[in-house]
Every structure is written in structure tokens, then in C-alpha cells.
Symmetry: C2
């Protein structure tokens, strides 16, 4: 039953793992319209300026600005209207001195014109004349060629994760396919003689698998593809064979350990047999989550998570989520959803260890409060009843009631 | 060119729209393992207690607590070890007075035992004896039947959006299918003679469609299914026919207006012809986004968004996203990702109007600052270069440099 841990602070453990891994998975070309939340592995450049022609930002009249010089309510400038700019077609008109053309928002500025007078600043005069009641400067109410984007400009950086407006921006320039990181495939094996698939009725002493599904959810949210590989009993040869097969088709393998100490040791042995260098970290200074194993097997990350479902989720958040983001080359990790709240109770901790406390958010006297959800750390419903996690930093001995704290929402 | 607006504050406009709509779309039964980010339309109850048997939370010995009464380092209690609890099978052992059984974390407590002594608090004595070096109370190091969840307990409320841990919690109880709201289908039509599909090369005066894709991205993120219906020119009959066809197969229709005033009026007319009551709101007190149309046509929401891509995104965020969440019966809207930052510049506004300002987040002297991204409001790349939106409330005349502000991240 003996167990030796050299526990590492989480950040150090993460560094040790990441140093031994290739930077990112391969990229693939996909349709831009289907690339929401995918991470760019190229730096797209503008193939042409945007807009490609000068556009009006108002409904009004395209004019030569110099013709309106000095115009005002008391001394309007008179212009002859020579026609209307059609939407979506070339414009044959040329606006000469003393002339104007009707133009709508988004319409192309005709040749000769360099500004637009808003319709509200004009007065119709007869069939084909207008009075301009206010002067405009050259370029006024016009978007110039390249004012949105210049030709050749870098539109987005490699490593950027695409948002709705980024898709719009790329498609506006006719960039209909983009090179993005392939979604990392994460195989998940739950182990333990006591664990059965959720669709089965557990016999005496058996429980249903939880970790495959909580971890798969985190994988999908981080941009990966979860590949559930079922439950394997506490048998070294079976587990090694299942791990080998799972890793073949995956970028990352997660072993969710059975809860007994013998199966925890089994995960480490499997890691060392799967490939080089094997186990890098055995034990991290995190509560819950101490018996965590991090390793690299022939260039692929293999993580041994504690069997306790609460620990497994905390540890997956600390190591698996950043790993999946890194494998996609994400320059900025997905912004965590965070809120600030005041703490309802003192929370004790031990310096030298990061503690994660499940909290519920409650409104009280118009303020947001974070209330620790108590309960044994292996109860999945303490997580279900929580709104987020509160981190107690490595070097503190606790947090005080009333203190403002940052809660990372689920 | 005349245009009459009775502009409404956004909240009032939203209420007017929501009041006329059915509460939620129909529900469907799906696999729990595939239900991440879906919204429950039922209130699942625990079919049995969790755990279903008393489980050890430690590696150690299952004992009768009373046998350890008074035990200490100086006066250990001697117990006879009668066997080991197997993992994942029924346990035949019965722990009698003066007896103990080896048990691992997660193992079932054998009959007769009511507590577990950690292995670290014992000393082996011969082949089949242990000394207990510390007393345990009844229930110590044990999770009791139903301690996680009691039989019949409501696990989650209807309207709750499922997170990774919720899937785990449901599957732990064998709930392998759940009743969730169907994903609302949102048809999107871009209009305007000047607008062409992104895969085409725009001719003179033409631009590529942006809004279909930015809006589709927002729809997907809110849990809906985006149904892009292409571009329709500025022709009333064609637009009405396209809108009718699109709405038939959708829960919501979004018309992204062409930018000229005539096409904006066309959207309103189409809405009034599509079904009763038609247009409810024409114009909201929002900048950018004033020329917004909200309506209900025979029980389905139809939104007319401004053609300007920046306005379209702001307005979709204000009306379409909450609408999609409401149609799924979400009790809590998806938490926005928010950060607090200090403002780098004064931002002027007009009381009686909500302003949305695009900002970039920058780190300066260890602090987070929100820097307005200037540029004409119809430039899509002002959104691409921004990290989020800053809301200037309805009743203020602006925000001051240095003020802490809340930024809603994209």
C-alpha cells in the first residue's frame, strides 16, 4: 500500500509536461463558414482592400466637396442632380463641377465626387436641383478604399480562435477556406473493477462511470474531440492493451484511475510501458487532485487522473484543458468566465498547495456572494450544485469571510 | 426617403417581442452523453440513492467504531483481520466485534462495519492482526447511502443548461436519456442588390455578404441552429417569397437589411405580410442599431437587422441571443464573459440611448485597460480588432477616462 509522491506545484508540473510535447497538432483547411471557435494556424492576408470602392455612409448626394465651400442655411450652394447611383452595379455617372448624384448608404461614390451631403442637409429645388445647407469636407460621409482593411494587411494572427465577427471579416474578403489546427483527439479510458457503463445496472459494490462523461464535456468545450473508450477492469495487461489501442488513434490519452491505490499505481506502470519517456510528474500540490500522473509517451501526452470525480474535473481543468488549447496553438487560452463575489465563510488552506473550493453564487443585499458547497470531496453532486470554483493560491493559509474573491464559472 | 421611428429603449422592445411569443419550442429526448450545453425541459429525479451502498473514502480497515473507543498510540485497540473487501463485487464478509476487513477507497463497507480506519493509523501485528492507533466515530471515512443524492430528489431544474458535471451526475444514476429543448432553427436572409455570396467575385458597386455569417456564429453560440438562406435582391415579391419559405422550416427569421433606406422599409412591409401581428417595434434607442425591426408573424419571431455589420452584431446580441435562449426555456441566460477594466479615453454619449462601444483590452502598468476602437461604425474590422463591447447605459451622457467599466467579451 506504500505510495511515494514528489508533489509539484501545478504550474511547474504543467511546464514539465508541455516542454516534452510537440508544439501543436497538424493543421487542415476547412470552410471559413464552418470555422467558428477553431484556431488559425496561418496568418491570413487581405487579397484586396476593403472596401474595394469608395462607399457612402449616408443616404444623400455625392458631390465635389469644393462646390459646398461656405454653404450654410443662409447661403445654400445650388447643385444640379444628374442622376442616381444604382446599388450593386457599376455607375456610369461622373459628377462635374456644380453637379450632384443621389446615393444611398453603401452605394459607390461616382467618379468626380469626393464627399456625400446627407439628405437632411439639403432642400429640393425644382425637378433636378438641390440646395446644400451645410458644407462638407472632402471624404466626409465616405468610407475610402482600404479604410476597413488595406491590401496585403494581416487580418488575424496564427493562434487566434475564430469568433463570429472574424468569420464575417474573412468572408468579406472572399477568404472562403482557412487553415486551422485539427481538433485534438482525446481518448478517455475509465478504469476500475467497480466501474460499469452508465447504461448497465450496477451489481453489489459497483458504480456507474462518471469521469468519461465529465472529461468528455471539458474536452469538447476546449475544442477537442472526445473519444470515449469505455471501462477497463483492474488488469494490467488488459489496461495496457486498451491504452495502446486508444493512443494509436488519438493525440492525448486520459486514464481515469480506479479509486483503489493498486489501480493508481497501475496507471503509472502503464504510462511507463506505453512509450518514452513515460511518467514525468507523479503527484501535484493540488487539493483535490494530488494523485495526478502526467507523462509523455513517444510524443503524445498521457494523463492519469484521480478516480474521484471531483478531483478528476479539477485536475482536467488544470492540465487537460490547457493542453488541448496548446495542441491547437491557441495564443490566448479561452477566456475563463469569471465573476467577483464576496466570500460567505472563512476557507482554510495549507500553504504550498493550491486548493479548489466549489462555490455556489448567491445574491444577498444586492451583492454577489460565493458560498462554499460543503460535502465530501468525492460527491459528484457537490459539483452539480456549484456554480464555479474558487482557487486558494499556493502560498496562502486561507481566505477570509467577506473578502472579495474571483470565481471561475463552470 | 422619409422614415418614421418611434424608438423604444432596448429592454422595453425586448419585452414587447417576448410577450407575443410562445414560451419555448418543443422538447426532444436525446442521449445524456450528447446533451452538453442543451437545456433541460424536464426536472429529472433520482431513481435511487447515490451512492447505493456505503463506500469507504480511504484505504484502510472497515471496523465497528465502538471497538476503537479510547484507542490511541499508547493504548492501541487490537483487531483481527478477517479478509478483504473485493472491488466491484458483493462482499460476503460480516465484521463482528473485535474484527476488521481490508477495504480500499470506493469499496463497499461490509455488513457489521460502520467506519473505516485509515491504513496510516494502524500497525500490522502478525499475519492476521492490526493495532488501531486512533479511535474512529461511527460513519467516519464512509460515504453513507444517499449522502450524494437521496432517492426521489430533484437533480436539476427544468431550464438548466447542462454542463460537464451535470452529464456525469445524471449518468451516475443511470439516466441515459434526457428531455431537452429542441435547438431553435434560425433562418437568415441577407438582402440588398449590392450584396453577393462570399464565394463570388463582387462586380463594381458590389460587396460580399458578411451578416449571414456573423449572425450564424452568434446563433450557434446561443444554442440555435443557423439556417443560412442566401442573398435576396431588393425586390419585394422575391423577398416575401423567400421569407415565407424560410420561415416555414424555422422558429425565427432574421432579415439582414440592405443598407439603403428603401430596403429597410421593405423589411417592415415583408414582416407585416408574413403573418399577424407583424411589426411590433420599428426603431430602438441603441447606437449602433437604431433602424431595428422586431415582429411576430403567426407565432414566430421575425427580426429585421440593420445592414451595417457592426450594428447587425450589436442588435443580434441584444435581441436574437436572448430570444434563442428564451425559446430553449433557459432559466438563466448563458453567463456573459465579462471583465472589469479602466477606460483609456472619455466616451461621449447621449442620454436616452444605449451606446455600444467596441474596445480592445490592453495591459498597462499591471492593470487592464479598455481602449475604444475608433473607426466608422460600418467597418467589420473594427469588430475584428476588438475584444469586446462596452455598454454606455441609457441614462448617462458618457463615461470618463480612468473609470472602471465592465466589458462584455466576444
Amino acid at each position: 500500500m506504500a505510495e511515494m509522491f514528489t508533489v509539484l506545484p501545478p504550474e511547474q508540473a504543467r511546464t514539465l509536461l508541455f516542454e516534452r510535447l510537440p508544439a501543436a497538432v497538424a493543421s487542415e483547411a476547412i470552410a471559413t463558414s464552418a470555422a467558428l471557435d477553431r484556431t488559425l494556424s496561418e496568418r491570413p492576408l487581405a487579397p484586396h482592400p476593403l472596401p474595394a470602392f469608395p462607399r457612402s455612409t449616408m443616404d444623400g448626394y455625392a458631390v465635389r466637396a469644393e462646390d459646398t465651400f461656405g454653404a450654410g442655411e443662409m447661403l445654400p450652394a445650388y447643385l444640379e442632380v444628374i442622376g442616381e447611383v444604382p446599388m450593386g452595379r457599376g455607375c456610369e455617372l461622373t459628377v462635374g463641377s456644380g453637379q450632384a448624384a443621389v446615393v444611398y448608404t453603401g452605394g459607390m461614390l461616382p467618379a468626380g465626387a469626393d464627399a456625400v451631403v446627407m439628405v437632411e442637409r439639403t432642400q429640393k429645388l425644382g425637378d433636378s436641383g438641390i440646395e446644400v445647407l451645410r458644407a462638407v469636407a472632402a471624404g466626409e460621409n465616405v468610407v475610402a478604399v482600404g479604410e476597413d482593411v488595406k491590401e496585403g494587411e494581416a487580418l488575424l494572427e496564427a493562434g487566434h480562435t475564430l469568433r463570429p465577427q472574424d468569420l464575417g471579416g474573412l468572408l468579406a474578403l472572399g477568404i472562403t477556406t482557412v487553415q486551422v489546427a485539427r481538433r485534438p483527439r482525446v481518448a478517455i479510458i475509465s478504469t476500475g473493477d467497480e466501474v460499469v457503463a452508465p447504461e448497465l445496472t450496477p451489481g453489489p459494490g459497483q458504480i456507474r462511470d462518471i469521469n468519461t462523461y465529465t472529461i468528455a464535456g471539458l474536452v469538447e468545450r476546449a475544442g477537442g474531440i472526445a473519444v470515449p473508450c469505455g471501462v477497463v477492469g483492474d488488469n494490467f495487461d488488459l489496461l495496457l492493451a486498451a491504452a495502446r489501442a486508444a493512443l494509436e488513434d488519438a493525440d492525448v490519452l486520459v486514464l481515469s484511475a480506479g479509486s483503489s491505490v493498486s489501480t493508481r499505481d497501475m496507471s503509472a506502470e502503464v504510462l511507463n510501458r506505453l512509450g518514452k519517456p513515460g511518467v514525468l510528474v507523479h503527484g501535484v500540490a493540488v487539493k483535490p487532485g494530488k494523485p495526478t500522473i502526467l507523462g509523455v509517451c513517444d510524443g503524445k501526452a498521457v494523463l492519469g487522473l484521480p478516480g474521484n470525480p471531483v478531483s478528476a474535473m479539477v485536475v482536467a481543468g488544470l492540465f487537460l484543458v490547457p493542453l488541448i488549447e496548446r495542441l491547437q496553438g491557441r495564443s490566448h487560452p479561452t477566456a475563463l468566465r469569471r465573476v467577483t463575489a464576496r466570500l460567505t465563510h472563512n476557507v482554510a488552506s495549507v500553504p504550498g498547495r493550491e486548493d479548489y473550493v466549489q462555490v455556489r453564487l448567491v445574491h444577498r443585499d444586492g451583492e454577489l456572494w460565493a458560498e462554499p458547497v460543503f460535502g465530501k470531496s468525492n460527491l459528484i453532486y457537490t459539483l452539480v450544485k456549484s456554480d464555479g470554483l474558487l482557487r486558494v493560491p499556493l502560498d496562502t493559509s486561507g481566505l477570509y469571510q467577506g473578502e472579495p474573491v474571483v470565481v471561475e464559472l463552470f
